[in-house]
Structures are given as C-alpha cells and as structure tokens.
Subunit: 206 residues, 8 copies
C-alpha cells in the first residue's frame, strides 16, 4: 500500500565536495538558500542515523575544507579525500564505503550539481542503485547549468528530490520517534515552519 | 476518436493538506494565484459532482484548519484527519475513501507539492491509478522545489495539469448542462475570462 | 507627533478606467494580483467612507464597463463618463466632482498606470493636491512601463503607495471602529493574512 | 541520412482558437512575442503551401474572431466553427478536414496551450499522428501553465517546437525555391535576422 | 487646469542611432518588444506631424543603416550623419536641426539608452529644454544598464516615458482629428488593444 | 574627512513587528534570505551595543511573538507592545523609548516594509531624525510592494540601506575592538564570507 | 565501475554555425555568458585534442565568419561551408568529416540551439551516435526557445550537458597530464574558479 | 553646447577592493558579466591614461589579491593597502593619492557596491567631488543590495553609470586618437560589438 519509500533502513547519504571554496561558486540559488538546505540535509542524516559517506577533492588545496556544518553534524562519517578522481565513483575507497553501507537507495548531494553529483549518480544508476539527487542541497554555477543537469539525470533514471521531501519520506509518520527531530530540523531550516510552530505554541500557551 | 479524457464519471478529487497554516508557506506562485486556483478547483469538483476526499495533517495543531473555501464549497466531502501519516496513502481510512469513489482517475492537489501531493501520487500510480497532479492548485516553498517535484512525478508517469485544463477536460463540450457552471468558475477565477465575458455582454446589450 | 497621514477625513479616491476591456491589457502583475488589489482598494473606500469619483473612457465601446466589483461595492459613487479626454483632469465634470469631495489628499488608481493614473496625478500635483498613486491597484502593459511611470510620478512629487499601506494609514489604530472592516478586507485580499487569522482562531478555540 | 524531417509534403498545420478575445489572455510570453510568432507561423504555412485547418470556439461570442493575420494570410484555409467541443478532435468536421490533408505530421498551435493545443495533440497522438506543438505560436495564462502543458505533452510523445525551427525544417536547404520566402518571414518576425540582413546588404552595396 | 502636456505643437522627436547593427545589441527588452515600440513611436511622429530629427553614427560602417521602419515612415525628416561625435548634441548640424524645430519639449529615443539617449538628453536639459526619454523605444545591452541610465537621467531632470504615454499625451482627447490615427498605431503595436477593438467590432456588427 | 557615518555612539535600532506570524507573509525575498538578515541585524546591535527598541502589534494574537532570534539576542531591549497603533510613532511609550536612546540616527527594520517601517520612518524624518530603513532585514508581501515602499521613503529623505552596510559603517575600521564580532556575524549570515574565511584559515594552517 | 564517460579517445566535437552575425541573435543567456562558454569549449577541444568539425552557413553572407576564438584555437579543424543545407547532417562533406573522426560520442554546440544543434543532433541519434548537446556553448533567440529545444532533444535521447561537465568528464582524473590545461580553461572561463585559485596561491605563497 | 562630460583630463578612477576573494561573493550580476565589466573599465583607464588609485582591504588575508586583470593592465597605478579602514576615504594615504590626481570627477568601482563603493562615494560627494559609481564594474551579494545601494547613492547626488557610458563619455568623438583603443575594448568586452565589427569587416573585405 505504498510506493517504495526512503527509510532510515534503506537509504544512505553521499556528500560530494561540499567544500568552503567550491560553495562560493554556487549561483543557481541564493547562498542562504543553498547553505540552509545543506545544513538541513546533514541534520536529517543525523536524525535518521543514515550511513553517510563524505568525499572531497583538493580539500587541502583551493577547494577548501568540508563545510563545518557537515563535519560537525556528522563527525563519525568517513571522509574519502579523492586524490584526483572527479567522479567519486572512480575512487575505490569511496565505492567500498558506499557498499559497506549495505543500502540500495542512495541520496546524493554536492557541488557542483552537473559534475560531482551527476557523474556519481549516473555511475550508481549503472550499478543498479536507486539514486536520488538532492537538488537544493547541491549547487552549481547558474540556473541553466542546474536545469540541464536535472534533465540529464532524470533522463537516466535518477530521481530528483529536495531536502524537505527527503525528511518527510524518511519520517513516514509524524508519530514515529524521530518526529521531534524532524520538526526541529524543519523549524530551523524551513523558516516558514519554524514561524508557524512559534505562533502556534504562543497561542496555545496563551 | 478521443484520448481518454477526464469526465465527471471517471474522476475523483483528492485534496491533501490545503490548510491555513501550511498555505502560508507557499512561495512557488504568488499567494493570490495559489488561492484562486484552489478555489477554482473545489468549485469544479462541485460543478461536476466529483467524488472528493479531503485529508489533513495536524489540523488542530499548527498546520491549521482546512481552507474555508474548501469546506464551504464541498461540505459533504469526507475529511480524513491523518493522525501522523505524511503520505495520505499510508492511511487506511483515506485509501478506503478513495476506493469507495470507484474512480480510476485521480486528481491530486495540496500542500506541499513535493511531499503531500507527490507521495500520494506515486503511491496511487503504483496501485494502477491514472494520476493527475494539479500543480497550480498545489503549492510549495519555492520555484525550484516545484520544478523538481514536477520532474519527479512526470518521470513516474503522473500527469501534471493545471486547473483550467481540469475544468475543460471535465466539460468536454460547452453545450453540456454544466457549461454555465464552468463559465462561472472561469469568470471568477481566471480574471481575464470574466473580463472578456463582461465586455462581450455589455457590447451585446448595447 | 506624526507625519501627515491619510485619514478617512482628508482623503478621496479617484478610480480611473478600471474597465473590463482595459483590465485585460494588464501585464505588469499577474491578473489575480491586480484584480484582488482593485477589489481591496474599493472595499477600503467603502469601509472608510471615502468620497470616491469613478471615471471611464469609451465605456460603451471597446474599453468595456467598469469592473463589477467597483460599481457593486461603491454604488453611490459618481461615475463620470469622459467623452474623449484621456487625462481625466481635462474633464470639468470630473474635476468638479473631485473638488466637491473637499479633500486635499487624493488617492489615484486605474488603467493604465502611465497614462490614466500618471496624467491625472501630474495635473493634480500641479493644482496643489497631495497625490498618492496606488500602484498595485493600477495596471499597465508590462513591468518596464510600470517602472518608468513610477519614476516619472515620483520625480514630480506624487507618492507611490500600495493598497495595504492605504488601509493601514486610514485605520491608524486597530482599535478604531473600522478595525474590523479593515481586518475583513485584509483577510480576503491579502491571503496570507486571512490564513493567519484562520489558524489563530482555530487554535484559540481549540 | 536524415531524421524524419518536416517537409512541405508531409506536414499540415492546425490552428486552434487563435481568436482576438482569447489572445488577450496570453501571459506566458509578452504579447508582442506571441503575436509575432503567430504571424510568422501562418506565413510559413503560406510559403510552404501547407494544408491548414483553422478552428474556433464561440467566434461570434466573447472569444472573438480569428486574428486577422491568420485569415488574411490563409484565406482559403477551411475554418471549422466548433459549436461547443473544447477538444477540436471531438468535432467530426475538424477531424475530417485534418484527414483530408492526407498528412501524418501535424503542427498544432493555439490558445490556450494546455487546453486547445494539448487536448487535440493528445488525441492526434492516440490516432497515430506524428504531432508537433508550436509553443511560441501558442499562448496561455502564465508561465507555470505553459511549463506544465509542455511537460504533459512531451510525456505523451508530442514534440514541442518553436516557429523558427518549423520554418527551418520545412525549408531543409536554403537553395530550395522557398528560401526567399523563408528569409522574408524571418526578416520580419525574428527582428534580429531582419537587422542582420539589413546591415549586410548595406555593407555589400557600399 | 492641466499639467504642461506634450502636444503636436510643442514637441519634437529626436531619433538617435536606431540602426540595424546597433539594434541587434538590444537586450534590455525582447527584440520584438523593442522593435514594435520603435515602429509605434515613429508612426506617432507621423500622425502628429512632429518635427523629427534623425541622426546616425557610422551608418555606412558596422552600425548599419537606420531601421527601415524609421526612414520609410518619416521620409522627410532630416538625417544627420555624425562623422564621429558620440553625443549628438556635440554635432552643430544636429543642434541646428533641433533648434529649427522651434520646440522646447524634446522626445528622445535611440540606441543605446545610456550613451546616445542619455548624453543628448543631459545636454538638452543643460540648455533648458524640457526633455523626455522614451525608454521602451530605446534599447541597451541589458536590464542593469537600462536601470542605471533611467536613474541617472531622472536625477538630472529628464522625464522618463514610454511610447503609449507619448501618444496619449499628444492626443489629449480622443475626439481630436488624430484620434483615428492614434487608434491605428495602438491597434497594431499594442497588440492587446488591437485585439480588444477586433473583438468589439465583431460583437457590435453581429 | 568623512561623511557622517553611523557609529556605535550615534545610532539606535528600532525593530518593528518582527513577529513569527507576520514573518510568514514575507515574499519580497526568499524566507531564508529575510531570516538571516534579521538575525544578522540584531547581532550587530548586540556587537555594537546599540540602544534598541522593540515593538509589536497583536503579539498575543495572530501576529505571533517576536522572532526568538530577536529576543534571545537582545534580551534587555525594551519591548513596547502597542495596543493598536499601526504607526509605532503614534505610541507615546515607543517614542519615549526612542528619545531615551539619545540618538539622532535611527535604523529601522520590520514587517511590513511599506507599513510598519515606512510609517515610522516618515514620522521620524518629520521630527528631524536621520533615518535609515534596513530593507533586507525588513519584509513585505511581494517585490512590487517593496519597490514602491523604497521609492516612497527615499523620496521623503529616508536612506535605504542593507545589513552588511550597517555593520560596515558601524565598524568603520576592522582594527577596532568590535572587528572580531563583526567578522563573526558576517561569517555566519553572509555565507560567502564565512566560506572565504574558512578556506583562508585552512590554507594558512596547512 | 563507471558510466560510459566522455574521453579524449571516444568523443568528437561538432561546432555548427558559431558565426559572428548569428551570435548577435543569442538572447537565452547574456552574451558574456554565451561567449565565454564557447571559448571554453573550443579550448577544451584543443586541450584534449578532440577531433573537431566546424561548419558554417552563409559565412560569406550575413551570418558572418566563424567566431575568431574558434578558428584561432582550432586552426587545423576542417571547416565545412554548407552551401545551403540547414541541417549539417544533410551535407555529405560534413557527415564524412564526422565519420572520419571515428568517434561514436558526438558533442554538438552551435547557433541556434533549436535549429542547427537540434537538427544535427536528432540526425546523429538516428544513425546510432551517442549525442550530447552543449547547451551553454550554444545559443538561441530567447529562453523559451531554449527550453523547448532541450525538451525536444532530451525526448529523443540526446543528452543535454554544459561545458564544465564536458571538461570534467574528459579529464576524469585531475592527475592525468591534461589536468593543468583543464585548470587553465576553468580559471579563465569559470571566473569563480580563477578567483579561487588566485586566492589560494596568494595565501599559500604568503 | 555640452553637459559637463567626463574627459581624459578631468576624471580619475578609484578601484576599491576588486580582489579575488571578494569577487566570488558577487551575485547581483552573473560572474562573467561582472568580470568582463571590470576588465573593460581598467582597459579604459589605460586607454585614456586616467590617473588611477587602487586600494585593497586584507589583501594578504582572506580577501585575496587584486584581480590580475587590474594590476596587469595598470601596473603603475598606486595600490593603497588599507590596514583596516572600511571606507577608503578614511585612509589618509588613499585620500592623498586621490588629491594628487588633481581631478574633480571621480569614477568609483569596487566590491561591494553598498559598502566599499558607496561609503567612499558619499565621502567624496561631501568633499565636493563630482562622483560617478560604475555599477556594472562593481558587485555585491544580490540584486536587492545593488538596488538599495544605487538608490542611496543617487539620493546623495552620486551619478550611477556603467562602463560603456564611461568609455563613450571619455572618448567624446570617435575620430579622436583614442577611438581605436575604445573600439578594441568594446570589441572584446561588449561581445555584441565585437561580433558586429567582425561581420562588417568580413563583408567589407569580400
């Protein structure tokens, strides 16, 4: 009686090149929108205890370190520093880490959408994974590049998604124990929702 | 000699979480555009006597009551208050209500497009329904989320549509008895059309 | 201790060529946004009992009758059918009607912004009136024309304004007797506000 | 050695409800862009002698007469006044006229994109035609409706296209006798091209 | 009882560098919008018999000849080919031609807005003319350049305007003999208006 | 040798109706952009120890409580709950609080821009204050309303500004003791800057 | 362990009508964005030694010569001047040149996207090539035409892509010998990246 | 017979914080548009031999070195590294350098528009300079900040301008010796113009 939803038991998160330097190239959304979506996504990973693999390129070079919100929220996630492979799927250590998660549904996000996210997504599709690209927690150079990347990925069977939908699919039912955690992430990173709750509680308490 | 059009006899309408609180989060269209589309869609349901199922989440909590235009226009439609399921299709009472309509074509609209509409749409597709997502009578947090949601749904076979097309398919022929009712809905909610009729009648009467 | 605010005692409303035919040429806002702003403005005139003068051009010709919401809301306002003057201020009957209001603050709105509104506004400024152009309850052919019209009027001392600000200035204090009426107009035509009230009352009543 | 291109011998043009009244509802493009595209498309039909079927709805009512550019350019094209059918394909006279063209490739354009164009396009696809929807020579109420309509049609196998591509496919080779006619249409309706030719000829002649 | 309106007796039109080559650089509006505005403006000059001065730069070089619509509509207007002066006001022949018009109100349009229009406008202001810059019948490289140019000109006292307002001010009263001519220009170049008239006449004649 | 800059000694901050309910009506910017600007502005007030006055309308009604970031960051700022006055300047307690700051430069921000900010700004100008309206830390219903409000305020002498400029003027010189605090606010709320610093420090430390 | 990536050994580049005259018709991106993408793409072809075929239409007529950046960067690439064929695939010399490259993956770019790029792309797909359309290094008349062209091509199996993704796929691994060349292209044509490297090297050297 | 135009003898250029790190924060234009405008402006300074003062903040820190195009084009311009002053006018060395230019017209550009450009512009106005802010060769965080900054500066008497207008004012007459240099800058940085010249020369030479 359901489509095959994302759950805390069947999904893993792959975070590709969310680095401080690269993030300053993001212009397909405003930076506050991109940053809040990335923060929300990693907090979802923590709330649902999703196995997560982080990878970087040139992290001790110009691309900069992983965004602090990522490493601080998910301190135990393995970080694969790729020595040169642009497509993370070409790096055996990364692929091993993905396989060790044991999950067949992969959530991918990163910078840039059409390179780091799309290449890995297309490789994962080819290996039979069920792949989701989290578009608002990813970023790229302008809106046209984003549109083209989504079209290319969707054409190949990658499912485009956004972070609120990821949270809602993982949660499934607000009454599950993680409901409070989801509410907290939404309250902070979907400001409308935080305001809504704030007003409600104030009225309720009055 | 026709494609398989929506008719008053083969379609049902599912309205998911069109609540006052959630509606204030809609930013993929202007609020006047969203509100007028929702009002139009429920009036179409009334004009064509479409079996309709309304559902809510946290309606006595922050998400607020169903928009008055919905309940006032369709006072007899069952309202399923989901105690926690995010995907309405996970709620047996809702699914029962859908089945009781006896219709195989389902029109879905709600807030938010990528969660409440998309999840139920994907579930309904999986069960073999012919599913239409009414995008302008739905709403979500920003334009990017809307675009991604439409792409994901279309990829899975959900047909995206907008309210004027719903009315026109249901009507089929302006000479059918419901033609006047359709004209009234369009006259009020597609303001261009109301103005057009107003000018015409004035000239005609002169 | 205040700037010289608009009040129910010092302001009059001039509605210029809000006709069905002309309104279909409005493309500087979406039509639902324009129509809801016009409706709101005339309801404010009623709520605050503002002396109002309505004028038309070619109303029994292609430009069409005055929008029904205008005449139905303000049935007693005089309607000056200009036989040919493009600038309403060139029509003596119109100017007389304005003078009879006895007000020195004039709120103007109409179609199109850069012709019907701007010409009358510039004439009124020249005669020493304090002139406000209500931009969202006016309309024109595209955004560029609107921008240019606002710049030209502001350059001449016309104050650009929008309908919510008109209502708020007229009201001054929510505790004045008209507060309920203002709330009703805002609840219907600023949909966010109607939703906010709806949620609040539901919570309060729970 | 070619894809199956549109030619003057395999294509017919169907013009659906390009009427003066309906055209004023077009807001997915600026009106000058829409009008120039419609004019260009009908001139292409004339230049390539494409069998053309024109149809209207309520042409002696509010929807108004066919745009003069259409009937003046293609005075011999049959005009089917539909007494009520919204989907032109539901009108037997229209379908007969289409069949009499003997063409299997159908170019459709009209107002509105998601109703008049999409419904007939979907019906024609179902009957086995190769269907092209000319999006810029069609129009609808806003950009969202256009996007949704294109997605729905493309999902069903309708090929979206724009008028310059129609002309270029029909022409195939600039050296064919119709090349001059195509140049004239592009020179007038793709203003960049007219300017380009104007500059070239002036320089050449200097 | 009027502001100091533009009339057929007090205004002259200055057309600066509306050349085929330069026009292809216009990107602050769509080209169809720009071209139709230029055409409309020169037809207004003809309809109201405005003294007009045309000037060019490098017209037998890359900038190309004057747009045909300009010279064909106003064949008797003097054309000053500036040998090098960027600001037309620096060319004595041009200034003489302007002075010979005997008018104190100058309507300027051209390409590009921030150079050819703005420089001459600022010079004319300095000499005491009452200067109007017709922004939609002018064009430039992108929207930002347009915005900056309008701000700079308005700051110096130049009045920004658009072509429909020019026509309406010149006409003053629809009953004046030129009313039919204005209607013809608007019917062709403000397509909404042409459609409106077309619908009206059809209904009237029915 | 300087213009008359904002300093920690000459400026006060007035925060008007930054409430949870009202904030959900903000659509002239994305909500993440608005929320991050408000947060930044209040942190600046704290960093520079600016005397601050907070005011609300209907805070125990539908408009909701003050945004938590405001009260948590500035717990000692007086909060004037206006019983009904729309223009905060009409409330004597508010005006007293402003006067007690002893400052002649007033920074205003709030919701909505054209009502709560503009009315108080215009009143303050009238009383001789030097008034700055912080546009990005304010919000309103749509972009048009914002544009009109900025034009009206600028016309009256109010200086429009944005939060980064406020911080930079207050700081004056990065070497002043508050430099670190400003860096912290910018690092968090102007994400580009935080990323820039993050990359720099990583490289420096490598 | 990879999807079937573009490599220097399996891909060829086809540049269709990147001519000076036609390029001035590009309005789906800003001209600086289009020009920098074209320059980047040809530099990638040089860096990866991709077999390249250039073709033109009316190059000694109004369409103008090939952009200098193209011929200067790839002086040895064959240039096929088509005497009239609009679809380059209809020109046997062009097709021969493509075949001689021996590559099965074809990267296409040109002006205009919906004609020159799309027609050749559809023909190549039909012959079994794996076809990529480089959308940002192509250009057309407006955004709508671009969107429609991408949809039509994607529907037929053409993969839309953008230049940075082309470079990244070709490179595969930054450690390959061409890494420095890719960095140089990105540094110049993706300005963000050049700035990032500039900052990094400066800090590193400090 | 002229307004007081910018000339090579009366103007100086002040470049404020055009640094690699800060430039990556520019989001009010696309980066290619910003970068090409900056390059054009410094080449104009060279072509007209304008006295130029460059200044930086934290250039050996996170803000990065001056853009190479600036220092390479103007290697002899003094560079004032401000140790902490945000407003360059607060730095005596900078002000001295400005004074030594002996010019009363100052062209300012930099990052960010509302801080580095606006503060110095307002200070310079206060000291009696005639100040121009080159908006497209400046950059800031988003479009709203740009709009607010332009309004604030214009309100204070600063003249907003863009780089093509700067070049055209400086040149005055194309026949002056610098005409070739201006053509070269425009040919490269206003791509439309380069294309126009390229087509012209090719035709001319044919």
């Amino acid at each position: 009686m359901s489509y095959d939803r994302l759950t805390a038991d069947n999904a893993a998160l792959l975070l590709i090149d969310h680095q401080t330097g690269l993030s300053n190239g993001v212009q397909d959304q405003s930076l506050p929108e991109y940053m809040t979506a990335v923060a929300a996504l990693v907090k979802l990973a923590k709330a649902y205890n999703l196995p997560t693999v982080i990878t970087t390129s040139a992290a001790d070079g110009p691309n900069g370190p992983v965004l602090p919100i990522v490493t601080q929220t998910l301190p135990e996630a393995p970080v694969v520093h790729r020595p040169g492979e642009i497509n993370a799927w070409h790096n055996p250590e990364f692929v091993d880490a993905v396989r060790k998660t044991g999950r067949k549904k992969l959530l991918l996000a990163g910078v840039s959408t059409e390179v780091c996210v799309a290449f890995a997504a297309l490789s994962a599709i080819k290996e039979g994974y069920d792949v989701y690209a989290v578009i608002d927690a990813s970023g790229t150079w302008n809106k046209l590049v984003q549109e083209v990347a989504v079209t290319r990925m969707a054409q190949a069977g990658v499912k485009p998604i956004t972070w609120v939908a990821v949270g809602a699919e993982l949660q499934g039912d607000w009454r599950s124990p993680t409901g409070h955690a989801l509410g907290a992430v939404m309250g902070e990173h979907l400001p409308f929702y935080g305001n809504l709750i704030g007003s409600y509680l104030a009225t309720k308490g009055a």
